[in-house]
Symmetry: C2
Subunit: 207 residues, 2 copies
Amino acid sequence: MKLYDYLDSGNGYKVRLTLAQLGIACDWEERDILRGATRTPEFLARNPNGRIPALELDDGTCLAESNAIIWYLAEGSPLVPDDRLLRAQVLQWMFFEQYSHEPYVATPRFIVKHLPVDSPRRAELPDRLERGRAALAVMERHLTAHRFFVGERYTLADIALYAYTHVADQGGHDLAPYPQLRAWLDRVASQPGYRPLMARPAARAVR
Amino acid sequence: MKLYDYLDSGNGYKVRLTLAQLGIACDWEERDILRGATRTPEFLARNPNGRIPALELDDGTCLAESNAIIWYLAEGSPLVPDDRLLRAQVLQWMFFEQYSHEPYVATPRFIVKHLPVDSPRRAELPDRLERGRAALAVMERHLTAHRFFVGERYTLADIALYAYTHVADQGGHDLAPYPQLRAWLDRVASQPGYRPLMARPAARAVR
């Protein structure tokens, strides 16, 4: 398998973390999203939506969408519960992450970290940060009664939500008002096989 | 089970359509999202993210996020493939729907249909419609070579993408440039057990 990725991407990091924690080897190729390297005809043939991460399987099939990729990798492992309701709850938090969290936690970080200081997209920040705080408050409320997001143990729901939450400050979010969330970040970072966001994989293997 | 819903919601419609096609009975209660009926303390205790649809199970557990709800309902049925890769591809399109499609196809419809003509949110329409056209083009390209989104048969991926695509014109999208997509809409609407978006369920049962 080969993962097309961008090192600073939290969505890519979800896949790298899952691969590492499951002990799965995978080739790794970085694509510079800031220079359009995911919008070339050659890349669009792999993922017509023009985004990393994309996982190319040995038969050439290419799987897109970070949360679908980690589901593919982790089904049958302890990261995906066997119970039908718990599995749906993992997906619930993963869809929450993509719809109510990522655009308001990850996108501000992208704007602040990668766009020019005078980018017109800075005008989006007040609204995005307000919605981001709403998402962080939903997480804080849940974690007041739970150690992890689903089933009181570490699952893909935690990986999906950790990826951009733990670097939310880089987009202008202040995590001080969320003590339960900060304690959960520490619990995730102490899981076996944890690796940090910016740990560059060898080109030959993520493991 | 009881579904908290809003009749005009495409996200709610995904659940109604799945229930109908699987022949599952379910109580139904409408919440007026335009009057804040999903942001009351009583509703937030069910879904802290304050959104419909939410499915309350017989033990009181409440499941949120439309795509997680239909996954819960349909696992083990023909709407979710048995094969691991096909299952991940269904999820790929469902995450595509929530991240790259819904905000740019459903939200314009909400702005046009439910907000005042002088709402400041109308200023969002040009950008949202442009991104929506990109999502529709990705679908059109895929459907040029496929009858359905995954495995050449009707799955949850089709239900998730159909819900807002078939009413995209109500938000200002023109589907004329997407002939493969329009043919696919017809194929979905001819599936056994199909029901239209605005078919109001009896309060006692969706079936």
